[in-house]
Symmetry: C2
Amino acid sequence: MRKLEREAIYRDYIACLNARDWARLGQFVHDDVRHNGRPLGLDGYRAMLENDHAQIPDLHFQIKRLIADPQQVACRLRFDVTPRGEFLGLPVNGRRVTFCEHALYAFRDQKIHEVWSIIDKAAIEAQL
Amino acid sequence: MRKLEREAIYRDYIACLNARDWARLGQFVHDDVRHNGRPLGLDGYRAMLENDHAQIPDLHFQIKRLIADPQQVACRLRFDVTPRGEFLGLPVNGRRVTFCEHALYAFRDQKIHEVWSIIDKAAIEAQL
């Protein structure tokens, strides 16, 4: 698969997350997906995303930078959101915070098979 | 410039950092470089790196994942180090910590022109 196809599929994946279209998630995410080293599988990955949306009712993924090669994608994602209660152990409690996440993805069988994600916790702390 | 050349140059850049070979830094880093939105310039970027090495005497950059396209690079970097005193506002005080950084780079005139970096602060907190 070529770089531009990989980018297009990744943008579709993000649109799927923003639409909360969980029935389509398996089109993009491998049955044996791992997230930060944890073997979640597709069901566990969906549960993680549903939990994220429950904790952050206005969750919306905005792509700021996208880097793709035939087997991998890296993305700088931006969020402008109001998490309920604690978020990453911080007392956000419905305040509006903006922050970025850098996520790297490895593909297998044309689907996301491994994700490594780091959220800019220091940026959130600076806003509280 | 092609993807494989970009990867090779990036690996040379990391070797330059690990060798603390500051005289070569300008081969890789643009005079007008920006880091997380701050217009540091080459001198400011070098000063930032020298400060990092002073704060972390055993600083060593290990590439875990590398994603490159013709204009950009993304990297998952791993560190296994003993920062002196406070690090990212955390009382590390010479303890050994392992953590990752996800750094994204945009190139201009074949040099690093803009860097966006997020360090996994939560991983460090969990080790203290």
